[in-house]
Symmetry: C2
Subunit: 468 residues, 2 copies
């Protein structure tokens, strides 16, 4: 299914033999040009055609990343940081060839400061690995994109997930970074203090820069105390609109809800089939409450009352850990479950986020698009933030469907922008949102390009992503 895009070879310069020689000299068997490995590093979860790098290197330290970047700079070869390849906008594709820097061996949790609620990890540590490592400390790291992504990849794409409504995104939770710049120099940004007014916020500049301004090698993260009590609740609604209105009222009342997810009827059907849940196939809200026992009960009570007034049905509690885990696993698997609705499909995911007052309207207009579409489309999302996804299932052998999906995406993005929203709530720009970045930010994109040119004058760091 994933073959090089026609003409993509034109973007590539021949890979310098001296560079490969120098990399081998320094990294030995930790350099490979194996076709299988390179192909694996030339694709992600998106529908973009595969674009393998010329070589893959597996560094173990920030210093080694620095050495790779210096060598690539010497020979003018692109450098692309690679986590687990779970990005969905083509972020890791080596469209100009070059060297993929696989962070999987940089997987050490360097320190956990329980008293300060922070940790420093190498960029290749995944979110699940970190939380396993934190077991027994009473702390956890809340950001949870669908995949078990690396924390480096999550920082690089400004990822979020289901907990963002309460705990924020990677933007709010990265305290500091070690970054290897385009010239191979290593810098540290931010620090462990909870707040600082000391100079430009380079940390936030690198968070979300998708490997185009520097390679993140170490990340200092905020941690949170495990809540004393957690409870989850599900509620079915007569319409997506009623579900969304419940969320809006909840947020406006200031209920400190921890997670608040919407799954539409088709998603529930997919999830039922995939995880054998037996839920009513109607729009559903899945909420979670964190706090003390008393506050958790109070929050859930408030949400239940709001839901009831808006026609909510089948309100159910999940207080036991296993029950909760099962529901949330189903939610995390929603993307894959939806893909299974149509075998051999190529999935295309939208990612708009709008001010919450426009969310019901945005979803309602989008549902009219879905009704007219010729392929199955599931809708779910982090509605507490105003962020939702469509998973459009496209037949890869039918170019008309790819075009239809593209048109649909454009309609959804332009609708979100018209409503004061963004083309991407959490997936990033990569290759897929380049046009929309212009539509969203206009002349500010030139400022981004100027910064890119200053920090990476030879355009070697993940070229072609974010900035054309």
């Amino acid at each position: 299914m994933n073959r090089p895009a026609p003409g993509s070879e034109l973007l590539r310069k021949p890979f310098p033999a001296e560079l490969l020689f120098s990399l081998r000299e320094r990294f030995g068997e930790r350099v490979t040009t194996s076709a299988t490995v390179c192909e694996h590093h030339g694709k992600d979860e998106s529908a973009h055609p595969i674009a393998p790098p010329d070589a893959v290197v597996f560094p173990e330290t920030s210093e080694e990343v620095s050495a790779i970047v210096r060598l690539c700079g010497k020979y003018g070869a692109p450098v692309i940081a690679f986590g687990v390849g779970s990005s969905v906008e083509g972020h890791v594709l080596a469209i100009h060839g070059g060297v993929s820097v696989d962070m999987s061996r940089m997987n050490r949790v360097l320190e956990v400061n329980v008293d300060d609620l922070d940790t420093t990890v190498q960029a290749g540590v995944t979110r699940k690995q970190l939380n396993q490592d934190l077991h027994g400390t009473g702390l956890f790291f809340p950001i949870d994109p669908g995949a078990d992504a690396t924390l480096g990849g999550m920082a690089a794409t400004r990822a979020s997930g289901t907990n963002a409504v309460r705990y924020g995104t990677m933007k709010e939770n990265v305290l500091g970074l070690t970054v290897v710049l385009a010239d191979g120099q290593e810098i540290r940004t931010g620090g462990r203090a909870r707040k600082s007014s000391a100079g430009y916020d380079l940390t936030r500049l690198f968070v979300g820069s998708e490997g185009t301004l520097g390679i993140l090698t170490e990340i200092t993260l905020r941690l949170y105390p495990q809540p004393e009590a957690v409870s989850a609740a599900i509620c079915m609604f007569p319409s997506v609109d009623a579900a969304v209105r419940t969320v809006i009222q909840t947020i406006q009342l200031g209920v400190p809800i921890a997670r608040c997810e919407l799954l539409d009827a088709l998603t529930i059907q997919a999830v039922n089939r995939n995880s054998k849940l037996g839920l009513r196939e109607a729009p559903m809200l899945l909420c979670e409450f964190h706090g003390t026992q008393a506050s958790v009960e109070e929050q859930a009570q408030t949400v239940q009352e709001i839901a009831k007034e808006l026609g909510g049905m089948d309100f159910q509690w999940a207080t036991k850990q296993e029950e909760r885990t099962r529901l949330w696993q189903a939610r995390h698997d929603a993307y894959l479950a939806c893909r299974r609705l149509r075998p051999n499909n190529r999935a295309f995911s939208t990612d708009v986020c709008v001010p919450i007052s426009r969310l019901a309207e945005c979803i309602s207009e989008t549902n009219e698009d879905i009704a007219k579409a010729s392929m199955p489309i599931a809708l779910f999302g982090h509605v507490g933030d105003g962020n939702f996804h469509l998973v459009v299932l496209v037949d890869p052998d039918n170019p008309a469907e790819a075009e239809e999906a593209d048109t649909l995406n454009r309609r959804v993005v332009m609708r979100a922008l018209r409503m004061g929203g963004t083309c991407t709530g959490e997936h990033g720009v990569g290759l897929g949102k380049l046009d929309y970045l212009d539509a969203e930010h206009g002349p500010a994109v030139a400022v981004m390009a100027a910064i890119k040119h200053t920090l990476d004058p030879h355009n070697l760091l993940n070229p072609g992503k974010i900035i054309r």
Copy 2:
């Protein structure tokens, strides 16, 4: 007391008559070169010697700011944005002369979106004005530095205050900006969506840039629902150490405390004298809890138990609004109250912030410095964030005292940096922290300088601040 620093005239180029003519042509009586007005715009709350601009202009719109910047660019004159002059590191001082852009007429609240919990204001709106404007909406804006600063100034210095432990700093609460760049071009950054992964985070780059990368003209801010219940509590402690340990345990337990302030015995003495409060002259914690009635009681109960175990005395509730307002006004006036301890002083304020596990140690070592000092020094701060201030009262006619204060500041900053902290938690760099920025961020400062050079190649935007 504030006279131009010897030699500071050397930094100035003569002010071009054509520029003044052009400004007058466009802005008429909204341009002035009056010595009184220029002097007022050439000083702030810091002890830095006065450095007046050559002219002051009072724009009313973003477009007018753009016109001023274009004209200054044409004639190579510096441009310094001016809010209310409450900065404490010399941020607004026109050390190279030029034009001060007084934002006081840009004082319109442009929109309040109650359903989305956001607002867009002109940069000259002050925090108190905004909260008065929000009266009746059920919403409020929590960030509260001591002064009634403008929101533009607060964004430019990445300000915070007493509520940061719960609601974050300006970094977390600015959603988007309108910025006039060095070439006069206006851009918009960020947006009203609660999260976005669309490109580099220019919003966070401008927040905290102290007018050196662009002039903030409009600001979109996050608002919060007024909590259903608020209660404040005070508790006296046998030592600063016991008070700090209470805070640390509170944070580590995940109590969502809204405000948590420490005042040392000397500060209490000053506050008693200033506000006639009659408090025991011992280290005091002043806490505030926001939430539902039940959760507020639960939080306060938890903190009281922790305090008791650590020797806390005189635990008192302030549930009535007037009582709370009186206590918090006293806290906000602490800086001025301390200054009144020694008439005709010049006050010098430190601003370090450390990881909370090091806070007790940092304050304890600092108290040893205070004990040895020849002048009165008060200590208070936002200890929930690890941030505290010393107010050092210096006799302006005694150069030895200024030197002693400077040495003390250096000791405190270097101690904080050694403990993984920052030289400035909320005041900013301005002129006063230039050396310490290098000490804190090392080679990353060169990256900041490169960005400054890219966005302001002729060094006309607030020159000499943050970047030398």
